[in-house]
Amino acid sequence: MSDTSVRLGKTEVGAVGGRGDGTEVVLDVRDLRVSYVTPRGPIRAVNGVSFALRRGEAFGLVGESGSGKSTIALSLMQLIKPPGRIEGGQALLDGTDILALSEEEMQRVRLAEIALITQGAMNSLNPVMRIREQIIDAWKDHGEPVNGREAEERIHHLLRWVGLQPEVARMYPHELSGGMKQRAVIAIAISLRPKVIIADEPTSALDVVVQRQIMQTLRRIQRDLGAAVILIGHDMGLMAQFVDRLGVMYAGKLVEVSPIREMFRDPIHPYSQLLIASLPSLAKKGQFLGIPGLPPSLLDPPLGCPFHPRCPYAMERCRVEVPALELKRPNRLVACHLYEREEGQA
């Protein structure tokens, strides 16, 4: 059943597993649209994004600043604030559309079913509360027991799980190092064993050494839990190390979704190609290759394919027609007119 694809308008969504083992879909995002109202008109930050997440899978969303990746994280939590607004789309978490839930229903779903590790996690902890209280707070509003030995043991177990000493429970955030704070945040996020964890640039403020440790901890926990993770970021290296499948975003749209190895070995979309070619590495020393031109303004996006002004292969058709995200090769979704649609592959 690896290629059960769903057709939704112009967009084709495939439950295309990176591992191809046919595990079930836990989160199915369909045609998500989010915009921000500004005095100069609406900014379509997320413009028809669809992807499916398998149980236990690590899925990456990569893009430059302003490509809409953080907006996706917030909308899946229903935490978009005015002037932002979810214009449309569905997010089926085990079959339930969480975008359609009422505020009270969604409040119970957060953390218990879907957890968010926010961007800038260095400041995600309340400075005037001990770590223990911050863990317990979350439990209280989800009807979990918070008193007695059992709760204490649970807290200790949780902290040890993320690699922290139990003593940390009694400490305030300012007494912890950056890496320890980040571990505490992870501990809270996983405390109710969610099915989906969204990690939005979880290591952006940390040094590389600590970053590696945090990401390895996150991966270990993900495997223990069997949860799916959406990793959002701009660092292709981090994606290469962490995710099974990668979605490349450009100007509020997904332009390519591929298993991670294929993405790096043979990127299909011209933007993915240029992005990967521009990465400096320790293997080769030489010239710096950039992507010419500038990202488009989301207030006044170009007609047709949003990448066409910077695309070396742009054709007439690219200027007028928006390419749909379609299956172009086995397991690979690409939004580009250069490639023929893959029909009836097994």
């Binding site: 953390l111 218990a112 400041n123 902890l125 005037v128 707070d137 300012h174």
Partner: protein, 334 residues
Amino acid sequence: MPLGYLLRRLTVFLLIVWVAASVNFFIPRLSGADPVRERLLQMAAVGGTGTGTVEEVVKSYQAKFGLDKPLWQQYLFYLADMVRFDFGVSITRFPNSVAGMILDALPWTLVLVTVATLMAFAIGSLFGALVAWPRAPRFVHVLAPPLLTLSAIPYYLLGLILVYFLAFTWRIFPLGGGYKVGTQPSWSWAFIQDAAYHSILPALSIILSGVGFWALSMRGMMVTTQGEDYVTFAEAKGLRPRRIFLRYALRNAILPQTTALALALGHVVSGAVLVEIVFGYPGVGNLLYQAIRTFDYPIIYGVTFMVIVAIGLATLILDLLLPVLDPRITYHRT
């Protein structure tokens, strides 16, 4: 509590006391002549109180300040007197001691100002926090403009309006005074009740015009706090809105407000002094007013000194309480 922090705060307090005392010493001397002496000579010339008394007063002040000594010696004597709360005797109500008169008046002012300020602070901060909270009930937004407008009216003018309507026209509250005319201050229940009844209007004028001020600065703090990552993460944790509001947003936004409270006390007291005059309230404000009308300088200087010391003390207490509210304050850093 670490000694260093305590010492630093105490130094600041002593500095405030020193400034208060020095203002009283130096400003009169800037005018070239000693106003106390002038006033005494003036009174002697008029001879209203009886020459004998005036001479006694003059003598007592000469002995006290050593007016023939060099300035720095006078200053030191003066500082020593101030520290012992020895402000001399009243000129117009000789031989009443200034310290005694202030001591009679001070409790009235202290209770009124403390209670009214804390209420204004609490109500105003909560209200301001709600104004900035997107889920706040509708009435908050309806009430906001009039309350903010009230904050632009000085306390005592608001008091004047309250007196006119609530006391003069509708006769709900007494017109003024701290207690019923004819009764003697005592600790009886009936007297306390009466005093409380008399204090409602003055307190109300302080609260009504104070609420807007606190609401405004709290709103600013809340707007900032709501943008913090920990509030977003609290929402992502699936907390109930009420918990996020109280424990995450409000709890953090109130910390800078406490510092502001310490700074605002001076203004509150200035306003309260004038409120007392409008209401004929038997506190230090009224004492000061009477002293100004009769140019009774020892009282003016004594009141100024005492009030500044009281405020310095209140600020000190607030500063010492702050670490309890904010665990991040470590005393090693400045």
